[in-house]
């Protein structure tokens, strides 16, 4: 369970703006790729770490640098210096996981989002947006940005003729839409649990329900602040986001609201599951008690009857002492009585709908 949560704090008292790699960051090797484009031209290349220091904002068009892997703080620092990013922004890139947010620095924006990798943990994606440059930092190599890259290559859409804000929007859109398949899978799990909760009431089922709730909470913690972040971009007054792009961002904002609607619905379903599990346990208890009560109610009177005629009163001493034992049809009569009593019990249980 412990691996479900990630430490997300530096030692208290660390100097603000300190760039240190996350403990697990070194597991993913660092790789850089770049795309430079404008309406007419397109260039895509891979950047060796040694050449990072010579990077510079392009004279025209848009430069997009995608960094995968956060294991090299020095590299992050160099990129930050080349493009003038604030130290605190760079710290947020490395000190994962941050809460999704938009931070407005002088001359650039930092957009932090969380990318869904269900059933693995979400990954932090940091997007720097400045006048001509978009720099993205991912924790590991992923394929969420590939459709955007493809569109740039194919000169599809109006992306090529728009500014870096449009690119940033498309990246955000790709990340946020990535939560829809995750939620769809969680919805299927919820449906499966609805059937399971009826057929068995092991503690495992309850754990699965709890696990589902926790995952929904994770999605909520990722999407809720992302909604606020999109809203902040919509109301951005730094001039980095053009009004035409805002129309598109509103669409992206709508998607976050839809996601939250789905999360709330599934959370409601999973709460119902807990109730239903409780019901199921109670009903099972009722079933057990019914079996016990039926058995006891049938056999206790019978045991009394057979015990009665097991008494050793001295029939020779008195004619009142258990004359039944000497009757010709005494034994068959006792059987009749016992069968009648059992039949009466069964009728009683049927009336109570226990049988």
């Amino acid at each position: 369970m412990a691996n479900k949560r990630r430490k997300r704090w530096q030692t208290p008292g660390t100097m603000p703006g300190t760039l240190t790699a996350h403990a697990e960051a070194s597991l993913c090797p660092v790789s850089l790729s770049a795309i430079a484009y404008d309406a007419g031209s397109f260039r895509e290349w891979s950047i060796p770490v040694s050449q990072v220091a010579s990077l510079a904002p392009p004279e025209k068009g848009v430069l997009w640098i995608d960094v995968c892997g956060l294991g090299d703080p020095a590299l992050v620092q160099t990129i930050g210096e080349r493009f003038g990013f604030h130290r605190l922004a760079l710290e947020d890139v490395l000190n994962v996981p941050q809460r999704p947010k938009v931070d407005d620095y002088d001359g650039h924006l930092l957009i932090v989002l969380r990318e869904s990798h269900y059933p693995e943990m979400a990954e932090q994606v940091s997007i720097f947006l400045s006048a001509a440059v978009v720099v993205t930092f991912q924790e590991r190599v992923g394929d969420a940005f590939n459709p955007v890259r493809d569109r740039l290559r194919k000169m599809a859409g109006m992306l090529r003729s728009s500014g870096p804000d449009m690119l940033a929007y498309e990246l955000c859109d790709a990340i946020i839409d990535g939560f829809f398949p995750t939620l769809e899978k969680l919805g299927e799990e919820a449906d499966a649990l609805e059937d399971k909760v009826l057929s068995e009431t092991s503690q495992d089922t309850f754990r699965e329900i709890r696990e589902l709730k926790r995952r929904l909470l994770d999605v909520r913690h990722a999407v809720w602040p992302a909604r606020d972040a999109m809203n902040e971009l919509l109301r951005d007054d730094s001039g980095l986001v053009h009004p035409a792009t805002k129309t598109y961002l509103r669409d992206c904002y709508d998607h976050t609201v839809q996601l939250l609607d789905m999360v709330e619905t599934f959370r409601d379903v999973s709460s119902s599951l807990v109730d239903e599990y409780m019901m199921s346990v109670s009903n099972r208890m009722n079933g057990i008690m019914k079996v016990l009560t039926i058995i006891a109610t049938i056999f206790m009177p019978l045991s009394f009857v057979v015990g009665l005629y097991g008494m050793n009163f001295d029939r020779a001493a008195s004619p009142y002492n258990m004359p039944e034992l000497g009757w010709r049809y005494g034994y068959p009569a006792v059987w009749l009585v016992m069968l009648a009593a059992t039949g009466g019990m069964v009728w009683f249980f049927r009336r109570k709908k226990w049988l």
Copy 2:
């Protein structure tokens, strides 16, 4: 259960503004009808798909185009181009179900609402409102708009002499009022469940309660954002909604608030139902336990007594060994003791109100 929810997402990374038909959209054939009217004239006709490309805003009066069926993205695109609708708005039309909302584009509004078809799933209705044109998109042929169409035909009300905003209002009003019968039916189901929950406590009853809660949640998810949408129309500053129409929209807004009041009341009732179901299960358990306890309490002492006189102590060996067995009235005395014990138990149970 799975069919209760609809996928509402395109593949993540799809280019924003991509118009693709929903998987199930092709099930409903596409049909178009048009009405053009002003205070003095009225024309109603059906539009073949081939003539869509020649549509144009009317020179005077209002043109209302109603499209049923979303299976033809090309058609939607053509209509969008003819009337200058934004690509993102058209995407929202096709990518059902969207959350109810009002989107303000340059020169036109997109109003998205959900139409109740209880007990079937709600359907998305998209209403475009521009200076002289209203275009509505429904998922399938329905009759919610017929009363409005009738009023236009009959020249009833002030609808004919008003602009397209008044038409849009009346369409919204018809859609929103359609939730009242749905809620009334859900209220009747809640009443029926209140009786049922007392007479039987099967898991089915609990499932019906859960189903009711889910349906109420669906209505809430449809009406809550519709309320916000109406509120946004009320505060519209695009100039497309005239102040006189806003007085009417306020009425429509009030209806959404009334609907939400009803939903909350019914949600409260259905929560009480869960409590009452739990009560019912507990009371049943109590009933079972009472039967068991009564039986055990009566027959255990009796069994002890008859067992007592079934012991084989050697009466010949000692006068202290079970002399009762030789008494003249030993056996009747045992019966008396047992009857008295049983009577005492019954009295005890009556005092405890278990019988």
Copy 3:
């Protein structure tokens, strides 16, 4: 149960502003009374339906028309036309029950409130306030307005010398204060249930708790929007409410807040009642189980003992076969053992505080 809720919707698609009588409205005959007053004069008369068409705003002073019964839509329409009330406002008068609210139309306000008639259902009261006229519509003849009428007759207070807004205020105040006795009665019911829930745990008690909660919810649904309505009157900028009157309205607003405080307190109490009911059921179960366990724990060992000496081992075959049966004090010794065992059990139960 079904009669607890009232249908409050017209057929979806009905033309906005359509005036139709509510299904049950015809049960109450329509009657009209009028009062015209200023600081110096006072006139009170009853208006025959035939003379409604000749009504007109007074030249000076205030005219108050009180209409009881909503069975005559034509009458409502005529009054609306005589005083220039908006069709939508008139529709809200007839289409009961509306949510309490204040609607600001051009030149007049519509104040909708709900009047408490505990234990009967609340009734809608609609108050039109214009420059010189107050028109009130009640569903049936009531006495809530009588104290105000008396004050007008007696020239008491500053009501006679104030405008129609002061009259409207006093009417609102009378309606809202009418919820205090209702809540007081509900509070008494809650107190009674607190005693009842301890002494018996029938399902009836639970139903009464639920009924109490529902009634409190009804009051809340009536008072909560009334609070908003009073607040809206306080911030009214139509010019129909004078600043001096607003000081009084603030008092009325305070009363709604007090009412909501009381409702919340009682809702809290009734939630505690559900908890306590559950406790009570559980405690009863515990009591039943204790009886069962005591009986079983005492008699099962005894039954074993007497069964033991009912065994038929052949004492003649071996000296080890149940020699106890031949002892001189065997039988009394068994009794001693059994009494000691019973005493031990009783001591055990006492220590566990079960006896």
Copy 4:
């Protein structure tokens, strides 16, 4: 229970501004005391009721009149007239309990607060603040204001050299700080209940928890609006509260927030208590069931065994009929079997941690 709540409403329809004494108000005799002070002078005297009519605002300095007991509406009216207080404000003084609030009238403020008298009910304190006069109304003679009076007498603090707003602040501060000891006592009760809930689960304990919750709710209902009232004084723009005093009022506001924090913590604790009570009841039930099951599981097999050898099969008729009964060590062997079975059961229960 009924005495926990106080009626707080006049007959509906009572003329606004009517001054009538509360039913229980006559129980406390009315007494008036006055203090007049400025930086250099100080005078304290008791005012006979007969001289109230000659009261007047002082020419310089501050006049504080403290009225204890609300049984004399005429007196309240006379004071109101002498100092120009609004009728509605005077009505709020008499019509206790009002919700804590600040009402801004022309030329004076009415501050209503509730004073804690744990374990008795809270008392309403009404403070009128005008340019040179502070009039306080208490329901009964109390000592909450004594420290303030002492400071005035001793010329301590900057109170003597400040205006009436500083006096009003100190009175509010004294009243609000009076809730801290109350909450401390409620906290001690909560601690005591935490121990009690473990050792006994009588319904009394549950009632005490409920009583605690109700008291906390009462404090909340008193302090929450008091916080709003202090906030309103902070933002006062009547000119009656000087900026320097507002710095002090912010401190008072902070205290109300602290109080609400404590209330929320204790409410959380008392909710946990209900859960723990439920736990305790369930655990007790488990304990009872364990005893029953242990007894039944040990003695039912034993009873079977002894019953087995109590059968009367005719050993003479067949060598297969119960030859055990004739064995030399038959009886000791049965004892061994039974002891072994019992030992096995005990081992089983120990493994299940039931013993």
Copy 5:
């Protein structure tokens, strides 16, 4: 338990601004240290109490005075007078624990925060920020400020060249980041409890859950207002906080939001723990009942059978009286019947998954 809460109120009616030491404050001896620095110089010294009266704001650079221990009100007063701090602010320093907050006084700010010392109680830290001076008051000697002190000594970061607001920010940052390790430990406790709740259901486990919830609540009560305080600093308009520092404060604000996210997640987990504990208790009850039912269901029929053939019907009196007792294979047949019945029961229980 009582020691979990601290009294935080002076006697009601105490004069506002009274400086008195907290009851436990004298336990920590008072010590003062000072650091004076600007971009070029650095001096650190310890201040004897006797020299406090000669302290004065520095002519250039920043003076930071750190006071540990609150046992000497006179000292606090002297410091306040030397630097012109408001009496109410000084009172808040001594009257611990205050709610975290920022108070804006004329010429200086008071920032109150709570420092986490898990598992001990949080400590109040008060930070005065004025134009050239930062004064911090801690309840006891701690090491939270050491990293900041080290940076000052090492001339690291831009702290030395910035104003006192930057110092105040770094102190706040150190205090707030101190909650991350605390929450991490609480998270580990929650994980440990998740395992524990399955394996044992003693009341101790429930108490630990409750303790966890209380600790989380404590953190929440400390961090929630700290978030508001940081937000207030962000929007500070006193001029004491420079815009460049606000960029850093936003980072600090983000940390409080992250902390609250973690708290909410853990609170959710601990609520699940309560549910799971209840589940566990119910499942245990089910297990107990199953054992009882299995035993009773197997042995009650067997006891009936052996009882049956323990009856003493007189075989000599009638051929119908228990002829089975004389059969050659009667006894083995009874054994067969009993084994078959037991086998059937076992099959039944297996089908029900009870075995």
